[in-house]
Structure formats: C-alpha cells, structure tokens
C-alpha cells in the first residue's frame, strides 16, 4: 500500500513478509556496522520511512537497552504490523547471521587443535580486540573535554575491567549518578 505524506514522498507500508525479507537481506549484508545499511534499506530503497522518521526511531532505539539495530527492527515491525510484524522483522534480522555464526563455530570446534588454525584464530581475536579499542576511542573522543563525564568513564572502567564488579549492581549505582549530573549541568 502506498500513501503520499506531507512532503510528497511515497511511503510504502510493508506487510509481514516484506518486513521479514527486508531485514533478512540486512542481516546478510551488514558487516561490522549494520546501521548505515539499515538507513539505505528502509529510507532509500524500500521507502518504509522518511529520513526524519528514521532519525527519530534511531533516537528511541539508542535510548533503550539492547542493540540499536535489533531495537530498530522490532520498532519498525511494531509500527507497521503490530507484534507479528515485530516478530517477523527480528527473526528476519537474526536468522541468517545465527546460521552463519554457528557454522563458523562448528569449523572452529572441529579444527582448533590444528596449530595453523589456532594461529589464525589468535590473529582474528587480536584484530577483533583492536576493533573494540577503536570503538572505545570513538565513543570517548566527544567526552575528552568534559571532566565530569570522563570521571564517570574512569569509575566504570575500573569497576568493570579492573575490579570485575557485577554489571547490574554497578549500573544501579552509576547510571542514576551520571543522569543526575547530566540533569544538574542541563539547568
């Protein structure tokens, strides 16, 4: 079904099958960052959302617990087809990556005793650690000139990485403190 919105852009209203196939393709395409692909699929190619709606939904998904793209699939499915659409979307998104990752896991279990395979996986794991280091740098960079935010970062780092404290308890203490500081600074 196609409707014309206020800006004159054609917006498609996907059914459950289209939600499943759209997110199935997304799950297969996105390597190391599905979000730019998600925007292209939903805004440019399939025209389910306008650019503003996409940004708005992304804001919601970043606010909620869970992965952005997982939340996005659920929210988009829910928006168009209720809980059935949400189910179709998330199943489409994780079906193919789950199958692929289990195949890789089976290969790893089968051949891990082989010294060459062991070296290959050691190199792969070291590179994956490097990607996390770069991600940490990217999320920290905007905070570098904000001493209070940096203090929160340091406390969480020490609690989780050094002291290995349970995350739930740490979050119950630190999230309210950080939100309180953000509230005081915003006034």
């Amino acid at each position: 079904m196609t409707t014309i919105n206020m800006d004159g852009e054609a917006i498609e209203r996907p059914g459950n099958g289209q939600l499943f196939s759209g997110f199935l393709g997304l799950g297969l395409m996105g390597f190391g960052g599905v979000l730019p692909m998600a925007r292209r699929m939903m805004v440019d190619d399939r025209r389910w959302l306008t650019a503003e709606e996409f940004t708005d939904l992304l804001g919601l998904c970043q606010f909620l617990p869970g992965g952005n793209i997982i939340n996005m699939s659920v929210a988009v499915g829910m928006k168009f087809q209720g809980w059935r659409g949400a189910l179709a979307s998330i199943l489409g998104l994780i079906a193919a990556p789950t199958a692929i990752v289990i195949c890789l896991g089976a290969i790893y279990d089968r051949y891990r005793q082989d010294p060459s395979v062991e070296h290959l996986f050691a190199g792969l794991a070291a590179a994956a650690a490097g990607l996390l280091v770069s991600l940490a740098w990217k999320v920290m960079k905007p905070l570098l000139n904000r001493p209070l935010a940096l203090a929160i970062v340091v406390v969480l780092f020490v609690a989780i990485a050094v002291l290995r404290l349970p995350l739930l308890a740490t979050m119950l203490v630190m999230a309210p403190i950080s939100i309180f500081l953000s509230w005081r600074l915003s006034r």
């Binding site: 990556p97 190199g123 792969l124 070291a126 969480l156 995350l167």
Partner: protein, 175 residues
C-alpha cells in the same frame, strides 16, 4: 542440563535488560559470568567466539547464540537467543507505542545524555577485557595495535581488518 539452560536464561535476560548503549557494553559482564562464574569456556575460547561473531555479518551480538550453542547445543542456542533478544524487544514494542508522548520531554534528553559516559566507560572496559584475554605475544599485541589504529583513523573496512589479522596470525604465529 536443565540447570545449564536455566543459568543461560538468567544470565542473558539480565544482560538484555541492562545493555544500554548496545551489546558491546555488556561484553565484560558476559565474559565474567560465562568464564569466571560458570567456567563454561576459557578466556581464550571466549575471545575466539567473540572474534567469530565479529567476522560474521549482521548485528554485533551474534556471540550470544554462539555461546548458547557451544554450551548446550541447539536448545542452548534457542534459550540464549530468546533470553537476550525478547526482554529488550518487549521494551522496544512498548516504548514505540509511547514514543510520541515522551520524545519531546526534557527528561528524555537528560537521561540519554547521562547514559553516554556510562556507555563509554563500559565500551572501554570491553576493549580492555577482550584485549587482555586475546593478546599473548608481541605479534598479537602488534595486530591489536595496528588494527585499532587503522579502524580509528582510516576508513578501512572492519572485515578487511579482521581478515588481515587472521592472515598475519596464520603466517607469523608459528615463529
């Protein structure tokens, strides 16, 4: 067996509800529970499973079904996936129907801004925990350092960097 499934369900449900800022923020807690508390896999194996999940396409939390499968086969895969994805998805379903009401409230921006340093600290902790568990030699340290630098300061594709790391490990790991 059923005790293992219950433990999987409890761990991943809890992680699902506190994963603010996405999956990478709960990686240290996942490692702590799976490696240090349950002893299901070693720290080395956890790093390898994480790396496998990064090498696969799709969302970055594919380590969850992988751990479930590794620990308890197909039923473990189902239990861990449902536990990790269902609670946060129910919240997302609920929130999207209320979103119009709280989107423009000032407290939403305040809460979101307040969670940014928390997420940053958790992602930094993830990087440290995974690096310590993955790096056992100067060669592996060099791979982590070069990969991190290239990913941070160039537009190199993550999968190309993972492939490069694996090849360098394969070529020089025996020396």
């Amino acid at each position: 067996m059923s005790g293992t499934l219950i433990a999987l369900a409890v761990i991943f449900t809890e992680l699902s509800l506190i994963a603010f800022g996405g999956g990478n923020s709960v990686l240290p807690e996942m490692q702590r529970r799976v490696v240090e508390v349950q002893h299901w896999v070693t720290a080395d194996e956890f790093s390898a499973l994480f790396a496998l999940a990064q090498a696969a396409p799709g969302p970055n939390m594919m380590i969850v079904p992988l751990i479930g499968w590794h620990v308890a086969g197909f039923s473990g895969l189902l239990v861990s996936s449902v536990a990790k994805f269902l609670p946060s998805s129910l919240i997302a379903c609920f929130a999207v129907t209320l979103w119009d009401r709280f989107r423009d409230r000032p407290w939403r921006a305040v809460v979101q801004a307040g969670l940014v340093p928390v997420t940053a600290g958790l992602v930094a902790a993830s990087a440290a925990v995974i690096t310590v568990a993955s790096v056992h030699s100067w060669l592996l340290a060099a791979i982590t350092g070069v990969t991190g630098g290239l990913a941070a300061f160039t537009r190199a594709h993550p999968v190309a960097l993972l492939g490069l790391g694996a090849l360098v490990g394969l070529a020089f790991g025996g020396f």
